[in-house]
């Protein structure tokens, strides 16, 4: 039967012994995308908060772009998870009868909290005044859309703007722990599986948070340069340099934490260590050492470190930033890959491995994963059209 073909192939390529039910690798590429996309959301949001809460002025030009990026990825963040379900239409059960001891059950609520209460509200208060202005300038349907978006409140008095500003600030402050919660929580989904020694570590949520920041910052850097290029505008070099600086710092923290985790694992060398050693040196060699550490960490770290001391010309720096942001995005993708796929490649009997091949032609998971990565860019394009940051009234107070 065709459905089982890949399984028979995996069966023929087993290394050692594996529980028979483990041959089928249940969490495929879509589950790799799930923490990847949520990570991008959390990271982009935290970059926005750096500007607002920590008052880093140089990041002002990217504030709205980061928020809109976060929103557009947030809107599809659940899709990889839902489309991966064996029974996607039963997804609502997670909200209707959540099983409170399950980490995954809480996802719906963490998601709703973050989307509805944090992201949408922050953007809403940030844009409310401008939307009122735009609703007065535009005509027809667009006017109606803006009106609806403002909830038919056409207040533009300085007091109302002050309220917007105050509440927006408050939400950002609440938003930082929420962003940590959102992604730390995704890490917890993996970190709390005691059956799987590759996942089960208290560091997992923390590592997820910092890798999320790294990837989100790189994404905003990439999008900011892309948007500037498309608008034929010069990107603000100050902003880019500052983003790069923060990327560098957080990358160091991220790498330290990950190394700490691995060193701890190696030094403790518990019962699972032998199999994990073979796993990392064998099946994960390419994705772990070359992609995750080489491309994702070492190249960006050395380049950005170099830039802290010596600043080449703007053009060169721009190219460097472009390449670095892509490297980091690829590296973090492989980090998620190594966690999700790597954790399923070895047997919980510790006696062998199964294999996983990305099925480029027949695999629905691949196409859906690509889809859920591309859709956010379209949403972002739409949002940028609807709520253009560059047409905002910039006398706003923060």
């Amino acid at each position: 039967m065709n459905k089982y073909e890949t399984l028979y192939e995996a069966l023929a390529n087993l290394d050692g012994y594996i529980y028979p039910n483990e041959i089928a690798l249940n969490w495929d590429l879509l589950i790799v995308m799930y923490p990847y996309v949520t990570g991008l959301v959390a990271g982009a949001f935290i970059l926005a908060s750096l500007n607002r809460v920590f008052d880093i002025k140089a990041l002002r030009p990217t504030y709205e772009i980061s928020l809109l990026t976060a929103l557009s990825f947030m809107l599809v963040a659940t899709m990889p998870l839902i489309t991966h379900l064996g029974q996607p239409w039963r997804f609502y059960e997670m909200l209707v009868t959540p099983h409170l001891t399950s980490a995954m059950a809480i996802f719906g609520f963490v998601y709703l909290w973050y989307l509805m209460v944090v992201l949408l509200l922050e953007i809403w208060f940030d844009y409310r005044y401008d939307m009122v202005i735009w609703s007065q300038q535009k005509k027809g349907f667009v006017k109606f859309v803006y009106k609806a978006l403002t909830l038919w409140v056409s207040e533009t008095s300085p007091e109302s703007r002050k309220t917007d500003e105050k509440i927006g600030y408050f939400i950002t402050v609440v938003g930082i722990p929420s962003a940590f919660l959102l992604h730390g929580y995704v890490g917890f989904i993996f970190g709390s599986i005691k059956a799987n020694p590759w996942w089960s570590t208290v560091m997992m949520p923390v590592i997820f948070i910092f890798s999320a920041m790294v990837s989100g910052i790189a994404l905003v850097m990439f999008i900011y340069m892309g948007v500037s290029y498309l608008r034929k505008q010069k990107p603000d070099m100050m902003a880019l340099d500052t983003i790069a600086k923060y990327l560098f710092y957080i990358l160091i923290i991220d790498f330290t934490l990950e190394s700490l985790d691995q060193i701890h694992r190696i030094y403790e060398a518990d019962e699972s260590f032998d199999i994990l050693k073979i796993l990392v040196r064998g099946k994960l060699f390419f994705t772990f050492f070359i992609m995750q550490i080489g491309v994702g960490v070492l190249i960006p770290l050395t380049t950005l470190g170099f830039l802290q001391f010596k600043k080449p010309r703007e053009r060169i720096r721009k190219i460097i930033y472009l390449i670095i942001s892509i490297c980091v995005l690829v590296g973090i993708f492989y980090m998620r890959w190594n966690v999700v796929i790597g954790g399923q490649l070895f047997s919980k009997s510790f006696y062998g491995f199964t294999s996983y091949k990305v099925d480029l032609i027949g695999g629905a998971d691949v196409w859906l994963s690509v889809l859920w990565f591309i859709v956010p860019f379209f949403i972002l394009a739409f949002l940028l059209w609807l709520l253009p940051p560059w047409k905002k009234n910039h006398e706003a107070m923060h």
């Binding site: 039967m1 399984l7 039910n21 997670m94 399950s102 005691k194 059956a195």
Partner: protein, 254 residues
Amino acid sequence: MAIKKENSSRRDFIKNSSMFAGGIVLVSLLNPLKMVYATKKPKGKGKWYGIGIDIEKCIGCASCARACKVENDVPNEPFFFRNWVEQYTITNDDEIKVSSPNGGIDGFKQPVPDDEIYKTFFVPKMCNHCAKSPCTQVCPVGASFESPEGIALVDKSYCIGCGYCVQSCPYGCRYIDMENGVVDKCTLCYHRLQKGLDPACMMACPTGARIYGDLNDKESAVSVFIKENNCAVLKPQLNTESKLFYNDLSQEVH
């Protein structure tokens, strides 16, 4: 049944739903341990099933695995088992070889000649029906649950097929049934137990290597088995409170 029903009035749905948002956090703060495990052993004298497997008596015929597949309509492909048999062979060079061709149904061959074998034995595997089952703990919708009798079951008409329980089972006892996209696992033949029949694997064993019974009843076959033999459970370090007890379990078995 001796189990008390929990309050199930539909009218207090508002009360239930307020548990929704902040509830978990609050409850787990107030009483952290109570909420962590999905199951609680019911008080009172209801049944609480446990299983015993006598490794010394297993001849590796895999009649249990066959009977289980037939009884429970498990797909015939060699990737789906509620119940399978492993053969361990430890050579004189301390090399450990494990095999389970089609869960044992295809028959076992010794991989090394007899005079190089240090030790060899069969280990039948099935769901451990843990008292603190990690699988029912992680089910996001309550489709995986432990019955009042201590049997981990799946509500297939409610399962969303996320596969989280498959990941969290340390013993590899769950699989996704690709036909319906939902999870399937050993039910200790719950339907047979309720009809007064033995579970298919217990019935099929020709040598009586498998025993099951009520752990609350200290005279039951399994209680006596545990008392008289030096039993161990798999992966005790994970504290799943497994209720599958092996006699004569070697430490090589994971």
